[in-house]
């Protein structure tokens, strides 16, 4: 501690001597991820960490990454979006239906993105302007949008999109499957926006304390609206890539991603001391989910037991970081 100089006349601003401690992250969740990787590597040496399997894990988590990134944005502003999953389903199905109906691929993709963005904007209006709790509002849109997805697909699975559409989900670039490339781009983009732009700052400020942000001149409503809209857009992107990957659009293809995305973001929040949502953390969370899933499969663990273990390991990871926090 600075010597007794903190009097009025002599400026007493202690130097920031240890900037490292200021980074304020705690590795509990990251340690959990590394432990999982180590465990599976030891259990199946040469298999788990093989190039093929790593690529496989990456492509299994690619779409989750995109949807979790969308969820991260909403959680940065302190809200939830329960509709990301059904929104992805609907947007993907809408694009597929249009393509099957003869709309050119690019136009159909844009239309799908527009659908998702529109759903996001509606969430934004409900939460930001009509002041509904994000939970009810997005629960309701989740239900509605899920119903619309059933209607668009007529309850069945749509297929038979043009060949060139398959590139989005099944092509590859520099040896990486396209979904992985897109996931990396989306994560990078959202990371940059959250960290380096004024809109990212505003999102964090609104998430920190909306009233303080408002009194500091942030237009809270527009900021929050934008977050939901952006989440809608990226959910749609995730849904469309999924449809391309499967060459088919079922009536509930991406619905499950909501829970997984929320889990990933929450896992990631434990990584920052401030407990905020952040892309780095979300990627770690996605990593835990993906590694666990793939590793347990490789070990041949029964699906039911996998489910049990997944829950237990998520809790373990979070407890690990809670313990670290208490020390500090």
């Amino acid at each position: 501690m600075a010597p007794e100089t903190s009097t009025l006349s002599t400026a007493a601003l202690p130097r920031e001597r240890a900037p490292m401690t200021q980074l304020l992250w705690q590795g509990g969740t990251i340690i959990a991820l590394l432990l999982l990787i180590a465990f599976f590597t030891i259990m199946r040496p040469g298999v788990f960490l093989s190039v093929g399997n790593v690529t496989n894990i990456l492509s299994q988590v690619a779409i989750l990454t995109i949807i979790a990134a969308a969820q991260t944005v909403v959680m940065v502003v302190g809200d939830f979006d329960l509709s990301v999953g059904t929104n992805a389903t609907l947007s993907g199905a809408a694009a597929a239906a249009l393509m099957i109906g003869g709309t050119p691929v690019p136009a159909a993709i844009l239309a799908g993105l527009a659908v998702g963005t529109l759903v996001g904007a509606i969430n934004g209006i409900l939460v930001a302007y009509l002041k509904l709790s994000a939970f009810v509002a997005t629960l309701a849109t989740m239900t509605t949008v899920g119903g619309l997805a059933f209607i668009v697909t007529d309850g069945t699975t749509l297929y038979g999109m043009p060949e060139e559409f398959a590139w989005l989900g099944q092509g590859s670039m520099l040896g990486l499957p396209m979904p992985v490339v897109f996931a990396m781009l989306v994560a990078l983009l959202i990371w940059v926006v959250l960290r380096f732009t004024t809109i990212g700052r505003r999102w964090y400020a609104v998430g920190g304390n909306a009233e303080v942000a408002r009194l500091s001149g942030v237009s809270v409503r527009a900021t929050r609206f934008l977050a939901f809209t952006v989440a809608g857009f990226f959910s749609a992107a995730g849904g469309i890539i999924l449809v391309s990957r499967l060459s088919s659009a079922s009536s509930s293809s991406a619905n499950n991603y909501m829970m997984l995305a929320v889990a990933a973001v929450f896992l990631g929040m434990t990584i920052l001391r401030s407990g905020q949502a952040n892309i780095g953390g979300t990627l770690v969370g996605v990593g835990i989910i993906g590694v666990l899933n793939n590793g347990l499969n490789i070990l041949g663990v029964n699906t039911y037991v996998q489910q049990v273990l997944t829950g237990v390991i998520i809790i373990a990871a979070v407890i690990l970081s809670a313990l670290k926090k208490r020390d500090a």
Partner: protein, 504 residues
Amino acid sequence: MTATQTRASAAPALEAHDIVKRFDGVHALEGARLSVRAGEIHALLGENGAGKSTLIKVLTGIHQPDQGDVRCFGEPVDFSGVRAANRAGVVALYQELSIIPTISVAENIVLGDRAPSRAGFVRWAELNRRARLQLDRLNQRIPLGKLAGHLSPVQQTMVAVARALGSDARVLILDEPTASLTDTEIRDLFVVLRGLRDEGVAIVYVSHRLEEVFELCDRLTVMRNGRTITTRDVAETTIDEVISTMVGREQSELYPARGTTRGEPVLRVEGLAGRRVADVSFTVHAGEVLGIGGLAGSGRSELLRLLSGAQRRTAGAIEVDGAALRGAGVGRALEAGIALVPEERRSQGVILSAAIQDNIAIANLGDVSRAGFVSQRRIGALARRGLEELRVKARGPRQPVGQLSGGNQQKVVLAKMLARAPRVLLMDEPTRGIDVGTKAEIYRLIRRLAAAGTAIVVISSELPELIGLTDRILVMHEGRLNGEVEAASADDELILAHAYGRSA
């Protein structure tokens, strides 16, 4: 409150010996001592960040000390938490922590284990009786069934005070209870505190209002940088002496000289009306510090909120440097050069979880960004400047604001708005919770800004501050302006007369 008081002479009610407490390498306490006797009111004084609140948290088991020990009536104690402390008769009202907004006033006052019950069922009549008793003691006429969240800030504080007073404590600790109260409530509180003292309760009283301390307390302990410097009988010392002990040197004049020049009109308000405010017109000139006085709930805060765009106005015009303010919202007002330092720092002033520099940046995004991208370097520089100017006691610009002492948090709010170099600076109770030394510094800063041409409007519930700091004072009564006095010729009585609605 039973017969324990007679044992007062035996052992001090509460003692702390050489307490050391560190957070992440910050030495919050480095050998703090305190000894409070039953039947006395003992002031705990020190600059912002001296360690007063931390000591209180150690005494009541919220923090465990790294070194040192605590004794209660001579017995060593090691409270595991607030409940353990309460069971031992040690009760505290913590700084800035008041009420539970979603439950009724009565339940807020008789909270938790103390709620009267029979077979697990709440005895509402008894609960109400007890709550009413405490409010009556404080002369408060707040409906018991009202949701506490719907009370004004002053009323919320009084409810929290009532809770602490009603706890049958043997040791009662109050951390800046009067920071957001006006004279009337303070007077009522003092009557109750003196009564408790006479019944033998040991009272620890933290405040930055030294006049109050000298009026109320029997002994005082001064802390500096986490250490206890001295404990004295109030009768044997003076305010000046206490101040120099607190800051480590002599204190110069508290209030700077008034301005001599009065320039062009900067802020002109015409027929302004909104929630709780009607028909307000006035003008503030460059170089002028305008004070706003009035009773709690008279609409002073609402007036500033209307001016700053935080609240929508229903009528009236606002002009800055001759240009009319159009549109609504804080953003517009800030662009026009009007900045507000709000009264409630925790809910309106700072994002507790965010770093100091991010708090400051959020109101200054234009200055720290280019083409939508922010510059970390500029954010850091801006924050550093503010921290130095206001002498914030912090580890650095990246420390989360929530880790700062109450007074230092307030300085961050000031820094945030000052960084905008506003044309009109509206300040609602700007020195609430700030130590005397820094107050003088802030007064000088306000004067400097005024001299540089900024129009300044200050609300203060401390009449000496209102009179000493400003050039001119407008007094509000029930949402309207009810008189104007020149500060140089004003006194408490004149201002209060206007405040109570009498036109002088």
